[in-house]
Symmetry: D2
Subunit: 410 residues, 4 copies
């Protein structure tokens, strides 16, 4: 039997808290049972608070790619032009959905260690005034980079373009506020910053997006991919279009509650501080970060260029087998170029960070890649001064300042 890891420092699904697992294990109720309906109702309310939005939220019953495809399937009609922004693997992937549902792609792309420039978006929308939708990935987990969604959203709004934002590795770990940022369809996943099991799509939908779905010549109804089904059942009548994933909802309710006990802003600041410390440690070890510059580095995972002479498969297997630490490698076009230390949810703590960096050093040395281990951990821990676990992990003023987070900032 394969031994389980001791530490899940992958780019997600991430470790949940024990409390989430206990709540996940509540007995299975029928979905029409009043106790389940009350839990679903409450979960909806919690999700809106975490999204800090007055938009409708929808919980689709499949992991985030379902929500992403559903947005395309529900909005895009044959011939619609879509500005697809590509700064990484997932950005490029969305093109497939646009094509599948008959849309035409206009692309703005940058290298995968960079971020989209809002001015390039503006220019593209000027050149293509018939673009109806814009799709963008908030954080590219595969490369640990972040796009300036707030500024991009503002540009889209100026041009009357509806936006579809993949904030799967954004919600609760990066600043994101649907209304204020001009986001019409946001898609998040429970298995990243929220630290719940995968299997759901957490969406926020603007009135304009609903209107666009309903206005389509053949609105999408009666399908697992239909957003309108959820509007017309749960949102309008508190019924379900089909059997929801009862246990996954239990876990989501629990994870959202815990997140709100900590506070959305504090959670963002916590993740930002750990990510910054991780990068400091990596640099001090003499390794090279993947993101081209600090400003584009995301809070979800730290991507590191592979040193010469080892493969990501080797490093991942070695850390996992010998020390019980699970990390992630490169995906798609990035395979073989980098490895990643995830730091979302429970992993976004000084303890996990120290363990991850120490064993990473140990493993690299085993594999003939000696690094300055002591300096690495020391640099990371230097960033942790002022950490405050007792205050719900809220980094004190200094850390919050470092993280550049302003509570409630629009």
């Amino acid at each position: 039997m394969t031994r389980w890891p001791l530490l899940n420092l992958t780019a997600g699904p991430v470790e949940t808290s024990e409390r989430t697992l206990r709540d996940l294990a509540r007995p299975v109720l029928h979905f029409r049972d009043p106790a389940f309906v009350a839990i679903f109702e409450r979960t909806h309310g919690l999700l809106r608070q975490v999204y800090r939005t007055d938009h409708d939220v929808v919980i689709m019953q499949g992991e985030a790619v379902l929500g992403l495809e559903a947005a395309a399937a529900s909005l895009i009609a044959p011939g619609d032009r879509v500005l697809n922004l590509v700064s990484g693997v997932f950005g490029k992937w969305y093109e497939g959905y646009v094509h599948a549902y008959g849309g035409e792609v206009v692309e703005v792309a940058v290298p995968y260690d960079e971020a989209i420039d809002p001015e390039d978006v503006r220019a593209a929308l000027r050149r293509n005034p018939d673009v109806k939708f814009l799709s963008v990935v908030h954080c590219e987990t595969p490369s640990g980079t972040r796009n300036p969604v707030r500024e991009i959203g503002a540009v889209a709004r100026e041009h009357g373009v509806l936006t579809i934002v993949d904030t799967v590795s954004g919600l609760a770990g990066e600043d994101v506020i649907p209304e204020a940022w001009g986001i019409d369809v946001a898609v998040a996943g429970p298995q990243k910053f929220l630290a719940a099991p995968p299997g759901l799509s957490l969406m926020a939908i603007s009135p304009a997006a609903w209107a666009a779905m309903e206005r389509r010549e053949r609105p999408l109804r009666g399908s697992y991919l239909s957003l309108l089904d959820w509007k017309e059942s749960w949102l309008d009548r508190r019924t379900f279009p089909y059997t929801p994933s009862v246990s996954d909802i239990y876990a989501l309710e629990s994870a959202l509650s815990q997140l709100l006990e900590e506070g959305v802003e504090r959670s963002i600041a916590r993740h930002a501080a750990i990510a910054r410390a991780c990068r400091a440690g990596i640099r001090a070890m003499g390794l090279r970060l993947w993101p081209a510059r600090e400003a584009v580095a995301a809070n979800c995972a730290t991507a590191v260029r592979l040193p010469d002479g080892i493969t990501d498969a080797q490093l991942i297997a070695h850390l996992r087998e010998r020390y019980g630490v699970a990390i992630s490698g490169g995906e798609g076009d990035l395979a073989g170029k980098l490895f990643r230390l995830g730091h979302m949810g429970r992993a976004a703590q000084p303890t996990s960070l120290a363990a991850g960096l120490a064993l990473l050093g140990r493993a690299l040395e085993d594999l003939g890649q000696p690094v300055d281990l002591g300096t690495g951990v020391a640099a990371a821990m230097a960033e942790m001064a002022g950490w405050d676990h007792a205050a719900a992990s809220y980094p004190t003023a200094r850390a919050a300042e470092l993280a550049g987070v302003k509570a409630g900032a629009g």
Copy 2:
């Protein structure tokens, strides 16, 4: 706060065993972790054993309607003719999928308290030699009835028609063997006889069905609805097309293991015996069963015609609020006509049956519908002689005989 029920006697999702809940609550692994890949592999193997099939099995990551829609989306091309058999709510519902994917429906229908006659299928196929697919619901949970899928499958095979069988409330509680019965796409759900949480579609796909999907002019790939994605990732390369529902897979592995410890045939016999005893109790109480005759009554749930003078909403709310017993009402066209006692999984035991019948009697009396309570429970218990919990709930010879189950029968 709404109090939880003490007994879930609904038509599903049903109560799981405590062991399933504990296994559900294992820590969340990344889906590429070798420990998770091993669990998924093992779960696949267990599912094939429960299906008693050499066909490929596929576990789609959404509740059974996803699998049902995926079958239509993956197989049916515009203009394809589909013989849709309608003996209940779900049979009628499938018509929507056929239309959505461009198919044309040929219908054979019977009243919702009856079962499809295989001879009517034969006649329909003779009249419509260009039919490519046949869709049928094995057991209509909303009306507690069962179609003779074995005989229908044989007829379809004679005519070279591919079959799509909704055995959501069939697998593990009714006899069903894909190859032997000529089933090309079978769709089951974990939340019924298997007593796992909802959120997955458990499918068995014949080589002919795969060939048909691949042969289509535009095979469906790159979608949440694509079966081929699973073939080309998991079945061919042991990778995943997207993040699977890690925790739900844990629970499924556990539930399938427990089912196989009992034995598929024993599970079927157990459910058949409890269903038979439930009907005996209902009749003895002076109530009328919904199914027109004993031969069409299914093992999943006992549907009972509503006595005059009460509504199903009243009865359900009363039982749930006053005695903590959750049962089901009518769905769709059947709303207001019947109520249902489910007896799947953990509920298929003499203890739950006795409790359900006793409190049903209590509730009917409260609502001014006096029934012969004592006689009802006594009649049900009379059927339980020979029950053998210690032998994994295997009913002894007499019960097996009553249930008409022959172990391993093709």
Copy 3:
């Protein structure tokens, strides 16, 4: 492997709620961790509320016999005279502790199907003015009988005698209020009406009892049996004399919380109503209750005289193996004379009662002891009219009246 039962209808340890099991499974904290100290503090507070007392409470770290022995070991000095009241197996057993710690026993005894008469206590105390302590069992679980502890306590107080009351099967299921009833040392267990796992002694100690312990020539300190150790560590300084049973405390905190959400009075009324209904069912089946009269029957378990021709071992094994129902037999002198249906905690619900009576009938018939099964369940269910699960199982006015419980009655 032995299959687990479906229903635990024994005389305790009883089934817990699923919530208690989930709370039990919280990670193990060091007992000096501030989070554990907070839980222990809270648990203490909850226990006082459940005891409805201002006396000190002490949670000893071993099942209730530890508390019972600790009372003797801490109070009784060589030569002390103790009036030991014997109406059952546990009453007789206490004599052993009195002797072990050097006391002399004065006994008042009645047959094991009867209760102690307070007037006999008064007479005995008059005859033995040098008696210092009185020991009595509130409810004799082995025979399902109850002593009039309130009246006995009043008599003891008149004579200045300190009382040791075994309310293991009393607290939360029978009325008992330490101050008002003149109880100096009360000992309860979590595994009975509270429905938590066994392993703790839940005690309430009067100031007079503390004074007596401290006044002894050689007060008992530095021992697992010492009550003073707990006073001088936890009560006085919030430290622990040794490592407490961390997980068992988690479960107790949870069970006490749930009990208080229901309400102590409602819990007593619920148990009284189910016990009454169980006796009604047993009588209607043509079986004979063990307690000599209704007034002495306890709420914890219904003891039934064994019909001729079967043994308790046979009946217990048959019900457990064939139907998955666990019940209890006779203990000590009562072995072979009776069997018992427990109805504490989760089992004190109409669902469990109906299941228990129905399968008992089934089993008796299997064993050649035909009973009137239908009439039995019907009689029990007749008593359940007015049950109100939604209101935290609070029986409505009629049931409360039947149960003779007055909220907060002194």
Copy 4:
């Protein structure tokens, strides 16, 4: 609400595995239920394997101090002379039990940073030929030191003296084999190396010890402190003297199973290797170990002298509140002199070690005690080369050699 710690690096109770918590949460069975009896039987067998003994084992139902007191209460008669070896807080504490049960203490003592010299034991026994019992603590958790129990046992055997060995922080983490080492009564606890919840005493009893208990003028029976009660109920007749702690037994069964899956020798080697690496890290940080020399340092916890200028309370509170790391301070006479990093069970892994040392450094710096953090973690990780998590954490040849453990050594 107090936030829970992220890492329990105390000296015990330690963190359990998640699997142990899930097994702990199995439904509560009555202790006479055949399923529970089978679990208890199996747990007994597992405990004998972990003790690597053919002696009887006894599981008393209270944390280890119960077993320690029970040994004294069951063996020592008034006037018996007991050689009590004192090298720490717990050694000194045992004197209290000897006195309480009427024994006379002969003491051999060393400073609390040292270990008992077997030659001093020999000399003491020569001087005191009437000594009947010898009591010794295998590992003094409060000071992180170890006594040479094997050699002491040999000396005791030469003199025909029965030995009582407190191996609470020994079993499964240090070499200890009852027969081979001349141990008559061994007492261990589940909450240390076995990583189960506290609440039980795990004992191994030699035939000579049983004989001594039975030979006493008034053998101890009918008490929570009686070992003979367990012999005469469980060992002789597979019954219980009273209600066992059902849930704690579930957890113990699980923890013992996991330990045996790893292997007793591998567990010892793992703990030895982590302890050695921890000491290397502490020294490299410029801190001073408490044990006088490497040879007396135990595997359970690393005790470190407090630097001037801070208190243990300060350091413990700071690490706990600011970084979520729980460690231990000094106990009894050692309070204020040292702090301790525990590394038992789940904490005996490179990940926890790295996290513990890194945050310890962080905390000391916060408190104005700068240490060489980088060098500390680097030194500890240097010792981890060759770690092999996949092989059940078995350190490879080099680590085993470093640890000085020989598999199966008598």
